[in-house]
């Protein structure tokens, strides 16, 4: 038991990434407000990014900016590059979701997903 707890504290970046994922998923599932759902989705995104980048970290290494003539350890550059792509895709998805939310508010007058479903089911 103690060993597992020590291991979890040693891997605290991974652990916090998982906890943030669960919090974001909980926000996405239980809140019926659409903007809250978008914020929860963003929290899930950042949790995945944190997990990926912390996998590439090496103790005592520096960022991969080459200095000629200096021998030092560099971190793994591949997760950083992949996540740089992911951040831009995340903001694209957020912008599209927000424009859909604005149009939904114009036609239904509410931001509540349950309310919108009720209005939709009462329509002929």
């Amino acid at each position: 038991m103690i060993e597992v707890a020590l291991r979890l504290f040693e891997n605290k970046y991974f652990l916090v990434a998982m906890i943030l994922f669960i919090i974001g998923f909980h926000t996405l599932l239980t809140h019926s407000n659409l903007i809250k759902k978008v914020i929860g989705m963003n929290i899930m995104d950042t949790a995945i990014f944190l997990f990926f980048v912390s996998i590439g970290y090496v103790d005592g290494a520096v960022a991969p900016i080459i200095e000629p003539g200096v021998e030092q350890a560099y971190i793994n550059p591949l997760p950083t590059v992949l996540i740089l792509t992911g951040i831009v895709v995340a903001v694209s998805v957020t912008a599209f979701a927000l424009s859909l939310i604005v149009k939904l508010y114009e036609s239904y007058g509410t931001l509540d997903a349950e309310e919108i479903m009720r209005i939709r089911s009462n329509e002929p």
Binding site: A63, I65, L84, A95, S99, V102, E106
Partner: protein, 145 residues
Amino acid sequence: MEDLIVRTISRTLVPFIQVYGLYIILHGHLTPGGSFSGGAVLGSSMILFALSFNLERGAKKLSHDASTVLECGGILIFAMLGFYGILAGTNFLTNLKAGFYPGVPGEFFSAGFIIFITVALAFKVASTVITLFYNLIETEGEAHD
């Protein structure tokens, strides 16, 4: 927002933010940064300008036509530079083997087509950010409470 303090501070700060954004873009192959971060900084500075003065004056700075040219031109320059690799007899999007100017690593004019792609993508990202913001906050329509 018609506030004197916000206006004065943002009028002083916006040129510095834009110079910093241009620095991030142009030194993307030497220091941390690159197209996406620099473009986002440039776009945020324009949004700050438009928010602290008024939105109509800010919207004139980037018209719809200019936004269209930047959006399509960014991808077009990227693809054209890629097709140059095919013309030179190598693969799509080949950098140094296709005959771009290699330069000395560490100097400003080096690394082949990387600097062109970075500048084109950065202006595309900046234009995307500004256009999305203006179209989301545009005050026409009846949805207010």
